[in-house]
Amino acid sequence: MFRFMLAEAWHAMGANRLRTGLTMLGMVIGVGAVVIMMAIGQGAQYAVKQSIASMGSNLFIVLSGSFTTGGVRSGAAGAPTLNVADAAAIAELDGVINVAPVHQGTRQLVYGPNNWNSQVVGTTPSYLDARAWTVVSGAPFGDSDVRSATRVALVGATAAKNLFGDEDPVGKTLRIQQSPFVVVGVLGSKGQSLDGRDQDDTVIIPLTTAQRKVFGTPFQGSVRMITVQAASDEAMPVVEKGIEALLRQRHRLREGMENDFYMRNLSATAESQAETTRTMSLLLGAIASVSLLVGGIGIMNIMLVSVTERTREIGIRMAIGARERDILSQFLLEAIIISITGCFIGLVLGVGMALLVHAVSGMVVVISGGAVLVAFAVAAGVGVFFGFYPARKAARLDPIEALRYQ
């Protein structure tokens, strides 16, 4: 019975190929749009998630305050208000698991005939822990290197590639500001940060070495930035208040005086960016869904025309014993076949387009099985929903009226 109905539906659709094809095109475009939009939206979400994960979780940065000379304000981290002792004090707070004072800037790296401008980060070993950064070859430097200001460096993947090419950087000596540094390790790749900066284009050296040999600082022990990692998401508000109170006390700021430091909650920034991306992909999905809806209405339109055209045929079928459900299922089946075939073609085209977008623009696209299933279910649903009214109209026809229809 079902096989017969399938064959019949096939014949009916084949009788007007152009029309069937155009009806299907509505579904193809709708599903294709949904698939592409979802692939791009989910890709963006994935990229943001990756950046957040690569940044490290539950992070604050504390920046030293600004200063003003003759009306010119330096901006954050301009004044040397933070020092290593502040960092050590923060480390004692409850809920804080990693604290790393940081002094960073862009400097030229030289190895043999190659040179490369890169971010030089002077910090302590805690920095790698806070950022969840691994060393893929060689070994990280330790606290003793910081104490004795040794000239060792960890190079990021991008910096390593540009300076050393195919050579293994471990054990080689590079120069920063004329000072030689021995590369002790190569960092694992982290990819882009949320603002699109290449996190692998970096060199990490001991904080003390950085201050003495690379950046130079008028005040020993002062740092521009302290990276703080809280134990958990829940601990962050407490830690934030704790740091503020601690630093105000240490800097002897009285009631009513402004903070001489800035705090930024990186995780919150990341969360809001993730939220933005989610909203964007929802919006894209919603827009694409509209085209699916339009495709569905196209199916309904054509099925209504088809029912009218085939009124006489319906009458004949009723005269020889077709029940309401026979006619209903016949037309419903046609609508479902059109929408599912359209969906399948749309799926293939959508995936193809998404891959093309990826190949051409390098944009991250994610095609999940779940999205594909949802698209299929929605298409079948659209077929049933928009096919039902015309099919019911056909099934409810009066046999004698239908037979008389010319």
Partner: protein, 235 residues
């Protein structure tokens, strides 16, 4: 003959149509009983109500008032699906315009009532083939209706009407679109099936055709004006 089962019994059957000029009575109270195995021709000029009557007999249309018992069942008490089952199994229709489905092979056309009855594919095909052979068109089983002549199409329609072994065949002007020679062939088929015990009721306005029946019922202005036995199988 008198003891045989009554297939059709109508009493005071009225059908009126709503028109812009008010209700138009097409049937004004018809009484008729047809027993199993009868061969009845319904005659009358156009507008006499014979086609309306035929549509009511075929459960395609519902009467305004009056009773209709088909094979002992009160048709008025049946719902749409029950009527469909009745049209499927108890009645076989033959129309003036053949009414084959143009996109289906002859075999599929003949088998369609079996599809609605829920018969499986293999027995369905065997039965359809058998009926096509019976009307002499077995070799065209896979052809489309447009590839054969009108007379042949009507034979296929008769095969379709008989495929579910109905008690009753209703034919509305079955030879209206055919030449006289072909008409005779079609009437021979009806005679043959009637002799096998199937009740045949046909509408015609041609006396030649009506003479094949053993009983002639004449309609005029929505009433039966004569009802008489004839020799039957005249030609």
């Amino acid at each position: 003959m008198g003891n045989e089962e009554v297939v059709i019994r109508v009493a005071n059957l009225v059908k009126s149509y709503e028109t812009a000029a008010g209700a138009f009575p097409a049937l004004k109270g018809v009484d008729l009983a047809v027993r199993a195995g009868e061969y009845v021709a319904i005659m009358g000029p156009s507008g006499s109500g014979k086609s309306t009557f035929m549509n009511l007999l075929g459960c395609l249309d519902t009467p305004t008032s009056g009773d209709y018992f088909l094979a002992g069942r009160n048709v008025a008490s049946l719902d749409r699906d029950e009527l469909a089952v009745l049209r499927n199994r108890t009645i076989g229709f033959v129309f003036q315009g053949f009414n084959l489905l143009p996109r289906m092979s002859l075999e599929d056309n003949v088998a369609l009532p079996l599809v609605y009855r829920g018969v499986d594919r293999e027995p369905r095909r065997a039965r359809a083939r058998q009926l096509l052979e019976r009307v002499g068109l077995g070799q065209y089983a896979a052809s489309l209706p447009s590839r054969i002549s009108g007379g042949q199409q009507q034979r296929v329609a008769i095969a379709r009407a008989l495929v579910n072994e109905p008690q009753l065949i209703l034919a509305d002007e079955p030879t209206g679109n055919l030449d006289s020679h072909t008409s005779e062939e079609i009437m021979a088929l009806f005679g043959e099936f009637n002799r096998e015990g199937i009740t045949v009721v046909l509408v015609t306005h041609e006396p030649d055709i009506a003479n094949h029946a053993r009983r002639q019922v004449r309609f005029l202005d929505g009433r039966i004006v004569s009802d008489r036995a004839t020799g039957g199988e005249a030609a």
